[in-house]
Symmetry: C2
Subunit: 206 residues, 2 copies
Amino acid sequence: MTGKTIPDIIVSRLPLYLRSLQRMDEENRKVTSSQELGERLGISAAQIRKDLSQFGEFGKQGTGYNINFLIEQLCRILHVDQEWDVAVIGAGDIGNAVARYKGFKNRGFRVVMIFDDDPDKIGTQIGEFTVSDANDLTESIRNAQIQVAMIAVPGSNAQNVADRLVEGGIKAILNYAPINLNVPEDVNVQYIDPSIHLQRMTYYLE
Amino acid sequence: MTGKTIPDIIVSRLPLYLRSLQRMDEENRKVTSSQELGERLGISAAQIRKDLSQFGEFGKQGTGYNINFLIEQLCRILHVDQEWDVAVIGAGDIGNAVARYKGFKNRGFRVVMIFDDDPDKIGTQIGEFTVSDANDLTESIRNAQIQVAMIAVPGSNAQNVADRLVEGGIKAILNYAPINLNVPEDVNVQYIDPSIHLQRMTYYLE
DNA sequence: TAGATTGTTAATCGATTAACAATC
DNA sequence: TAGATTGTTAATCGATTAACAATC
């Protein structure tokens, strides 16, 4: 039996809840309330309770939510109670930063491969990784059964890379290239483009 | 007189329209339609027409939208018919990548300063910039009248950096640190956290 | 002209909020 | 117990879509 479908707008808030809770945990906090969480995130308490109630009853009337317990539940819901192997494609400045990024620790992800098509880069060391030949991309990720990838190549190559990732079995792509990717329906894409974020803010400036 | 307030959800789509149109322009396309734009972006044609109609009548019945003209209009609306000077705080891997990023070209932004508090980094060269002492942060951005900044420091320092940016007059912050920032109401913040994007996708994976 | 596509209205759909009984 | 906070319902609010007259 399949449970009811949760709206993506709710799913998109769960990682934010999780991140705040993990921060509270680092501060050695034990319990919190929908109100406190809402204040930290700029989200209404009612919405947080409603969102969480889609997945179960995680709180206690009168006292609120046990932080550790709620972290566990959210990790389970978001499938980050495991570590996902991630392939990085592109060993330029962005690929470099992403491959060496410490921020995936305890968040459910681990970079395991980095690819580039530049012969001068192939075989060189980036952090703990040796840059692989992008020609082997499809085969390598298929063999390693990797489902998550990050694209950090120029826009002109991004669609081609995406096609090969999909061929290799990738199901989730985080794309740093400033273009929209065409992928099959069962492949998820998220975009990071700093210019897009900045333009959304300059609208409000003079 | 102040025009009616446009919902932020509409504002958030305008940069996506602009990016697609600029790509069409690079392909030497001259006109497009709400339908074509919608297909490229995965957004309904009706919504695109509705969004644009908040700001004026930019199309022609029967023929669609002149790409160059619509680009001009969107640049004006988003206030990127000018180039905004941007300060980068943090000269680690991410600050490095952002400072050297070529993708701000023609998008309305130009990095002009980069700061760090590490004595070993201060004075060194990153691309065309010399790393400045983060102690001078507030004064430097105030003197240069910079309104836009990107935070690329560890989470533990991000709130402190944000406070000093606000003190210096910053009105828009793009935050790469994985924490929520508290800032005054008139300061806009956007967040980039790859783990958040990835977790939103792993929800849908097995 | 005929065909195409806009801008806009009204209808639909979905998300958020307010309120409160339940209960820790 | 009294106070606090949940989970949930119903009401409100806002966003999206369908449809079409206008017109290029």
